[in-house]
Amino acid sequence: MMRARVLVKPKAGILDPQGQAVERALPALGFTGVRNVHVGRLIELDVEDPARLPEMCQRLLTNPLIEDYEIVEADAPAGSNGGGAGATAR
């Protein structure tokens, strides 16, 4: 079993009103100097065959037409300690 995290965000160039709303809200709390905010999703899963993760991402976990994703591998399955992260990007 491998612990994996799939980070999903709106595809570059597609209007992201959620990110914009957050970006507009931060200065109201005094957090200035923040730009390019994007809001996405985190999917965590334990997988027996990590090689199949890209296919899972393409077919269900994301909609490749509107979303970009990144698969981040963590060492330990859920419930155990640890979890150093190495990244395979897309």
Partner: protein
């Protein structure tokens, strides 16, 4: 003319869709877990929140057993109409081009909109007049139609945009004011507005009836030619 209206867990507009279909023909419910389309002439994938819209709108519903049959039915040329969540499901299933994104306002929008018929050359708008205005309600949070530029220009070039929001009416930031699109073969159509809520003078304008009437005419007149 027999319509089939799909019911997923979380569907909420299937009863109005049945009612709309029955104004022009017969209609039966199709259960999401069944693989039997009961010999219908056309399928309606209705609005709602299929399978809770978990992950992304329409993402899980496309894997329902009934959707495999709907995909085969569509591939064989059968008429498929997707309304609101049904539109989202058909996009996720790859039966229609593009995707639906959150409204630019990030708000749930519920109001009447004016639509313009872009082409009458389709089984879904054949009973309309060119540039006819249809007054139909919308109610959605995720209705901003999007397709990549190259795909979009192909769709525009081949007349796959059947309905647009009238000038100044675009409620959700949809690209090119698109309210509804069909596939290349022109037998699958999806739109965000709800024609099934606009078929009875008792509850307001009846602009939605033209969509169902077009489908009926396409099927029965087509059959008459055989």
């Amino acid at each position: 003319m027999k319509f089939g209206v799909v019911r997923f867990p979380g569907s909420c507009d299937e009863v109005d869709a049945l009612h709309a279909c029955r104004r022009v023909g017969e209609a039966v419910l199709l259960w999401h877990g069944d693989r039997d389309l009961q010999g219908v002439d056309a399928v309606v994938v209705p609005g709602g929140f299929s399978y809770g819209d978990y992950l992304r709108v329409g993402a899980i519903a496309r894997f329902a057993p009934v959707m495999e049959e709907v995909a085969e039915f569509a591939a064989a040329g059968g008429l498929v109409l997707g309304i609101c969540n049904g539109f989202q499901v058909l996009c996720e299933a790859g039966l229609l081009p593009g995707a639906l994104l959150p409204n630019t306002s990030l708000r749930f929008i519920f109001r009447q909109v004016e639509l313009e018929v872009v082409t009458t050359d389709s089984p879904f708008t054949g009973a309309c007049a060119l540039s006819q205005r249809l007054s139909i309600p919308i109610k959605h949070t995720t209705g901003r139609y999007y397709a990549p530029d190259d795909q979009l220009s192909r769709m525009e070039g081949s007349g796959q945009v059947l309905l647009r929001y009238a000038p100044g009416e675009n409620p959700n930031g949809s690209v090119n004011d698109i309210a509804g699109v069909c596939n290349e073969q022109r037998n699958v159509f999806g739109l965000m507005p709800h024609p099934e809520h606009a078929v009875d003078p008792l509850t307001g304008p009846t602009g939605g009836l033209a969509i169902f009437e077009s489908m009926r005419a396409h099927v029965t007149d087509g059959a008459a030619l055989v």
